[in-house]
Symmetry: C2
Subunit: 492 residues, 2 copies
Amino acid sequence: MFESAELGHAIDKAAYEQEIPGLREALLDAQYDLVASKAFPVILVIGGVDGAGKSATVAALNEWMDPRHIRTHGLSDPSDEELERPHMWRFWRQLPPKGRMGIFDGSWYTWPIVERAYGRIKEARLDQSLEQVRRFEQMLIDEGALVLKFWMHLSRDAQKKRLKKLEADPLTRWRVTDRDWKHFAMYDTFRAVAERALRSTSTAGAPWTVIEATDPRYQKLAVGRILLERLRARLDGPAPAPAPVAAPPVAAGLDGRNVLRSLDLTQRLPKESYERELETWQGRLNLLTRHKAFRDHSVILVFEGSDAAGKGGGIRRVTQALDLRLCEITPIAAPTEEERAQPYLWRFWRHVPRKGRFQIFDRSWYGRVLVERVEGFCAEADWMRAYGEINDFEDQLVRSGAILAKFWLAISPEEQLRRFQARQESRFKRFKITDEDWRNRDKWPAYEAAVCDMLDRTSTEIAPWTLVESEDKAFGRIKILRTLCARLEAVL
Amino acid sequence: MFESAELGHAIDKAAYEQEIPGLREALLDAQYDLVASKAFPVILVIGGVDGAGKSATVAALNEWMDPRHIRTHGLSDPSDEELERPHMWRFWRQLPPKGRMGIFDGSWYTWPIVERAYGRIKEARLDQSLEQVRRFEQMLIDEGALVLKFWMHLSRDAQKKRLKKLEADPLTRWRVTDRDWKHFAMYDTFRAVAERALRSTSTAGAPWTVIEATDPRYQKLAVGRILLERLRARLDGPAPAPAPVAAPPVAAGLDGRNVLRSLDLTQRLPKESYERELETWQGRLNLLTRHKAFRDHSVILVFEGSDAAGKGGGIRRVTQALDLRLCEITPIAAPTEEERAQPYLWRFWRHVPRKGRFQIFDRSWYGRVLVERVEGFCAEADWMRAYGEINDFEDQLVRSGAILAKFWLAISPEEQLRRFQARQESRFKRFKITDEDWRNRDKWPAYEAAVCDMLDRTSTEIAPWTLVESEDKAFGRIKILRTLCARLEAVL
């Protein structure tokens, strides 16, 4: 992969100086079109060997364009707020919004490459990490981002020369650290690991461009030209079409059976038992959250269900048992302007809790495959890919120590009607019923199909769905508490 | 202050149970009106002695209302991201947006009271902290927030009884810590400090309500009723009128002299000197940011100036000397939806940098007293109070270790006209000139008056303005770099 970047590519000074003014003007033009259009974000990943002029390239890009609309991110030690969340959280919080450019000098590639080169992770773990990176980038691309990745390459000799040169100049001596020489001694190892990383993450949507870094002029010009060309193409070309959907959604079984209809909604809990059980399970839950080991975990609860299925009541029975200072409830409504400028999952990532905390989502990221699918708010391709993106998201949550429980609260259409009518009559609950609720009721079959698909595609071993028979509220609430306690007990 | 909270206030069970359903319904109603109106945020501060049922009261509020629109905040140890910023940053990031309720169980009062009770700060420092709190709360009120503060009081005997009772019950034993008993032994000290704090922060807009906490029913009912009454009054009453402005803005001197007109705009720097000086000062700045002591500071730069005064060029000359990964430029444009739901300064607080970082504001919080004043985007009372709020904000930044430099870039109206015309002719810079720029030009005298007021009222010893004569761009840029280096050298 690096052969053509060891040919001694160079641009002479005169040619460089002749080209730069035009390139700069065109880049600035393109950047302003991007800012004005707010059409998509640009994500630049800059990787490469030590001393290969990464900072100088980043500086040139900031010089050529308007730096006020560019955000450059380095990779310093993670803060404790970052350490208490999935590894990728720190990158999610740095993603540029639509219309802006984010440059990652040090990125999601740094950890896997360095860890593997040092032999601290095995090859399988490296490949696993790279697969996660590939899926992350695919999500960015599907969400419309322009992702450009540059690898700054130096041959072994060239790197040695570069480090020596930097060391010789008193102005740049500080740039060369012991770590750089240590990595130089590991040149072949790093090269092999980097090659593996580049090879397996060079995709059609986000290919790597390896750039020879011996001549700074050549290097900067190459990056500038590619950026301009790709940016211009996206700005002037048609919006990328969503990928065609190959597999049709899982239809309801041909025999009319499905997992929702198979629920036994007649299950009931008499009032006396309910009150006793409520006290038992809430007490148990409270004790569990005061378990010492709980400090190393967070709890993320997802409540989904038909309108009037009892989400609010279920959540309340959980929070009654909790220290409210360690607990946040996020009701999911329409996204804000800042959220709309980011990939779909961004507005959930921003609520990923620290350790020792509860985060309760009243409706959630599953809106994509439920209401957005049924109401046609997004293309089929978008909600079809959401299943995989959601599974990846949840996988990261669970790997980072979060206990994730997802509840689908099920009621029959007849019970829903009864509750709607009761709500309209009760002054106390009138705010809970809107015209939209009545409209959604007419789409019951479409929602049922969407729910069944969702359960099939996202009920995984690490993040299973719990179906909660909620025809009887008491029964449903106790099932939620019982399930939650069991999940906590399994981990703590 | 605590006398009437030691009378043994109590409500019998029957009376309590009769009142609660109606109270709950009315609170829920009011909460939903608040959520729907998005008119103002509600901030509840719950303070008081240990064991005085603070959590139980918070739980009751969450029980009575819809907890999805309430956020309860405790006071755990600050994260490193919080420790690297002013003390109040952690509270600013938790402020509820308009339409929501934030409950602070542990608040900005905790630190001053505890530190003073332990004798770790002197009385003068306590009073200083309380004065800051008072100003912070006044800002919240002026921004429209409903601020309610409750102090849960127990007499010495009552507290002892309560702690013993909690310890006796196996279900609540965990709540009583050694720290609680230690604080009990310091009862009189805590009482005296708390009294001082309450007395000096009980203002007309945010009075404290001391509540006797011996009877939990009485306590909860008292809080619920007051919250309902105050919330209802704000929802149904007229929007609070801005305070009348007593002092007129500083007019331009009667003799037509002002600080801007007194600048010597003829100062120039020849090209050869400019290039030499640029290299010198950029090199010096770069060295300074690599100084070990820099890791304990952050740098916050504010660039203000007339249109076309050279803010972008000035910023660029600074960033050229910096590690771009440690530097963020925030151009200030119209606030986003999330920002509009918060107090004015919130959108700047969210960009307060960590230590070791540069944050550059291209236009800033001074918009309030410049464009918003001149264009009439806010009431006179709002921009008049902004001077004090800004000084408080900057004081907190500087106290936390930030190096704050504020640049006003000054040009003559004639030079502005020349630059506007040149921009219109240059394809390269055409994006820099809009119709609005031409309109603003007509308001030159109004802007000049606003700038002079701003300089008079916000150029303080800890955060002085630097007036940059920018008629000659070279001269202005070097003055910026020189000033910045001097500021860093004074601190490092």
